[in-house]
């Protein structure tokens, strides 16, 4: 694997706690890589360490094999899309996008090209990036005159115009309203494929991470719990934390079963070698969600399980006695 960015034994201690605790990661070139975790897990600090806004307590950061952890942010060929975008309010869209091309001290591809081909090259580049992000015609607007989605695209354009080795994205979708978020998510994915730039994406939203990433790392309390492709992590989580964080999980004792792998039946099914267990339960609630419905059932031992069923299935009423069953293949066992 050709890793563009490598973190080795990286730590960041703050006065009160260890924000990042000896993590190691290799980000494949040209991939969409996500850091996923709850707030305070150290994912944003990791991003800030890569960008250069924080200095690591121990460990090293290598970009294309070169150590960059001692360099100030303005000498690293990585660029950030900030959570709040941090657009320069006194500059137009054009001014914001050109900012990094003027007097920057990075030896990036964009910069080298500029030195060779002069200002015409830069103007051409800005033009192309603005078109790519559908900002044509908005060049002379100030950030205050743009919509949330447009601001986000300016933040992307401003960073991508510099052709960074890695683009760092700090929860870039969290400032958008939910309607727009799904649309922008797809655009972000397309943009990554088109440009081929390596994306390092930080989020606390598992759906975002699963749908966007080529691979992802789940973080918890400053440490990486597990790294892998989305489907792999979802199907084969190594810890209960990863299993629960990537989606809803029913715990029957120490065995985990996903809501979509569980079935609800009114009579016990005929015995079948594939079936792991049949448990009696009482429906306590049903929620209609369009194509699917969630049935919540209380087990005899008092624990609660949630089952996802097609909403066309016969509606279960609260108080109804049912049986829950699932296949052995869908069980998650032995998680720490």
């Amino acid at each position: 694997m050709d890793a563009v960015l490598k973190l080795a034994d990286l730590s960041k201690d703050f006065a009160a706690h260890k924000a990042v605790d000896r993590i190691s990661l290799a980000i494949p070139r040209g991939s969409f890589f996500s850091l996923l975790g709850p707030s305070g897990c150290g994912k944003t600090t990791t991003l800030r360490l890569v960008a250069g806004f924080e200095t690591p307590t121990t460990g090293e950061i290598r970009l294309n094999g070169q150590r960059i952890d001692h360099l100030p942010p303005y000498r690293r060929n990585v660029n950030t899309v900030f959570q709040s975008y941090a657009l320069f309010p006194h500059l137009t869209v054009q001014g914001n996008v050109e900012f990094g091309l003027r007097g920057s001290s990075i030896h990036s591809g964009a910069k080298k090209g500029m030195a060779k081909n002069g200002a015409g090259f830069a103007a051409d580049r800005v033009r192309r990036v603005l078109d790519q992000l559908e900002l044509g015609g908005k060049e002379s607007r100030k950030p205050a005159q743009l919509s949330g989605g447009e601001r986000q695209r300016v933040a992307l354009a401003r960073a991508l115009v510099l052709a960074p080795e890695v683009l760092l994205l700090d929860e870039p979708l969290s400032a958008l309203d939910p309607q727009l978020r799904k649309q922008v998510r797809a655009e972000l994915r397309d943009l990554q494929k088109q440009t081929g730039v390596t994306f390092l994406f930080v989020t606390h939203d598992q759906e975002e991470a699963l749908s966007l990433s080529d691979s992802l790392a789940v973080m918890r309390a400053g440490r990486i719990e597990q790294t892998g492709a989305p489907a792999e992590l979802y199907r084969h989580p190594r810890t209960k934390f990863v299993a629960s964080f990537l989606g809803a999980m029913n715990w029957i004792g120490d065995v985990g079963v996903r809501p979509e792998a569980m079935r609800v039946v009114l009579t016990p099914p005929p015995s079948d070698a594939r079936i792991a267990a049949v448990i009696a339960a009482t429906v306590s609630d049903t929620a209609f969600l369009g194509p699917i419905a969630h049935v919540t059932a209380r087990l005899d031992d008092g624990s609660v399980a949630m089952v996802q069923v097609p909403s066309s299935d016969a509606p279960y009423r609260p108080g109804e006695s049912v049986y829950l069953c699932w296949n052995t293949a869908d069980e998650l066992r032995g998680l720490s």
């Binding site: 100030p72 660029n79 950030t80 900030f82 657009l87 006194h90």
Partner: protein, 280 residues
């Protein structure tokens, strides 16, 4: 009902301030304006008849020179306050929990009379003052440096006196700036110096304008600083006005000079406002 009550309450609460402004600002200005069109009384004061001669006298190049010099010295003092005040305001805005302590220190000089502080400067700057004495005792100079009673001393005094008026509005704009913008500038390859000139300073424009006005306007009317530190060499409009009301006992002429000063100050504020609106 509620609406009219609120309006009435608002009027009631604003009335004392409005009355005070009327009594202490508007009425005196009207009186001064009226005096400026009257004739000089034999022992001070004013007499009939109405005349425009006080303003005609001000057209004399002698007075034009005084106005120009006042404007020039005020401009230099404003620039000096900005150059010294901006780094200080930036330092305070970025010093975290100690902000309030440093702000208190900036305001601290106001607890002592400005007059006493100017005398302290005289003690430092005069030929037998502290600085000259020390330099001479170390043999660094053989004759005292002429540091007092010149234009430089006046500018020094003005910068010293009005520096807090520059620091406070500058601090207010700098403190409000989003620190993420500096991260963004560094992220986009800007060195700290480039970030200062292309992000921090442009975004401080409102504070820079406010500081300029707050220093320039009181400086152009000053007379204490030029009187004490400038000797008789540096006569400013403020001194001219003061002299007419005291030594020369020519109240109408002093009033006319005051009116011109007032007009100049208002013109500066209006012009700055306009140019700022064009910038934004």
């Amino acid at each position: 009902m509620i609406h009219t009550n609120v309006t009435r309450l608002r009027t009631l609460f604003l009335a004392p301030a409005a009355l005070l402004m009327l009594a202490t600002l508007a009425i005196p200005v009207v009186i001064v304006a009226a005096y400026s069109f009257l004739s000089r009384g034999a022992y001070g004061g004013v007499e009939a008849p109405w005349t425009d001669q006080n303003y005609v006298r001000l057209l004399d190049p002698l007075y034009g020179g005084i106005f120009l010099r006042s404007a020039w010295i005020s401009l230099l003092a404003s620039v000096g306050c900005l150059i010294l005040g901006f780094p200080l305001a930036l330092f305070i805005a970025r010093s975290g929990q100690r902000k309030n302590l440093y702000l208190a220190l900036v305001i601290l000089p106001f607890w002592t009379s400005f007059l006493i502080r100017l005398y302290a400067w005289m003690f430092l700057l005069r030929d037998t003052g502290l600085i000259n004495t020390i330099l001479q005792s170390f043999g660094l100079i053989h004759a005292p440096l002429p540091m007092l009673y010149n234009q430089g001393a006046v500018i020094l005094g003005l910068v010293y006196g009005y520096l807090p008026f520059a620091v406070l509005p500058l601090y207010a704009t700098l403190e409000r700036q989003d620190p993420a913008l500096l991260d963004a500038a560094a992220d986009l390859g800007a060195s700290p110096l480039r970030a200062l000139f292309h992000v921090t300073i442009p975004l401080s424009a409102p504070g820079i304008w406010a500081a300029s006005i707050l220093v320039f306007v009181p400086c152009i009317g000053t007379y204490i600083v030029s009187d004490l530190l400038g000797g008789s060499k540096t006569v400013l409009i403020g001194n001219l006005v003061q002299n007419q009301f005291t030594a020369s006992r020519d109240w109408p002429f002093g009033a006319a000079a005051s009116m011109i000063l007032l007009a100049a100050a208002i013109a500066v504020i209006v012009l700055m406002r306009r140019s700022r609106q064009e910038l934004l």
